[in-house]
Symmetry: C2
Subunit: 204 residues, 2 copies
């Protein structure tokens, strides 16, 4: 922007554009568009958005047992009396818990690592909730740990590290099956996925 | 989401996802991603974002002369002593003012309509700052009105309406030139643009 137009920039507008542009996947153009939308939106909508942001940060904490998000001390899974207390499913993010719950295929407990090992991004073992997982496996009556990290390089590296840590604790360690996605097209499956699908083939 | 997973939805998180998903161009997936980003971001960043939203709505008003955005009574253009007081450039949105200012090619005044005529979307003449424009042209020493609406159907319709309203007021009415965009490719120009470029050709 030239100095000629600089005096035209309205500071609160420029500030909101800057703040929105700091969010992931939102560039300066989208930030401008959102800002001018909010400028014209009902005052009510703008207020509830700002309040929702503040309320989330003020109220949401991590479950002190499994590190899933919650509003109290313990999350809904940890306080439930109907969950299988002998299984822990280890995931990278709270959103993964929601995705697995949506399937209805799992009734055990969770443990959220809050990330994956990625030394190039500066994310090391101690940045994840790994020691907390080991402590749970030692102290709770766990017989199976399901490593449900993302099926990518960082997820694999994280699973490999956990495998080493958990090996001596006398629990079954499993991973979700790899194979062809439902609705997918065999012709377009990548070689790794198709290879996993053949290796893991099952008797009908 | 099945009823089984519903108890897992943390209310402040769901609320922020809902609020973000109301913004234009942001679907439920992006809203989730932004929410979980904010959950992990520095508390400072979350707070400044919420404050920027509230501050913008509280502080930014419309210039009471040209309806551009401003923090005071009048905008920077209207209070400037160096602008040509005989020209008004009519635009649809405040962002258009910034775009034109960036060129440095115009030193007159502005008038922001805040939209375009679009009967199908329920936007009629009285929803725009058209009467306010007519009043300015009548009372201020204006000799040229530049209709700089967007070069699309709604912009054209709005310009046509303004042309009728302004015709009897004894001012020059102009429009920015239509033609090939700089850096564009003649081969790929649409017929309408290329036609305009030929119609508006200039002697070298």
């Amino acid at each position: 922007m030239t100095s000629r137009s600089e005096n035209l920039v309205v500071e609160p507008v420029a500030r909101l554009i800057d703040e929105l542009a700091r969010l992931p996947g939102i560039g300066p153009k989208t930030a401008s568009r959102l800002t001018f939308f909010l400028l014209r939106a009902e005052a009510e909508q703008t207020r509830t958005l700002a309040e929702a942001i503040l309320a989330m940060r003020a109220q949401v904490t991590l479950c002190r047992r499994c590190y899933n998000i919650t509003v109290g001390e313990l999350c809904a899974v940890c306080t439930s009396t109907t969950r299988d207390q002998s299984k822990i499913c280890v995931v990278e993010e709270p959103l993964d818990v929601l995705a697995i719950e949506r399937t209805g295929a799992y009734r055990g407990l969770y443990h959220v690592l809050h990330g994956h090992i990625a030394p190039l991004e500066g994310i090391y073992r101690e940045d994840l909730k790994i020691d907390q997982l080991i402590a749970r496996v030692r102290s709770e009556p766990i017989d199976e740990v399901i490593l449900a990290m993302n099926p990518n390089t960082e997820g694999e590296a994280t699973a490999f590290l956990l495998l080493k840590d958990l090996a001596s604790l006398g629990v079954r360690i499993t991973r979700p099956a790899r194979g062809l996605p439902t609705g997918g097209d065999l012709e377009w499956a990548d070689p790794d996925t198709l290879g996993s699908a053949f290796e893991g083939r099952r008797e009908l």
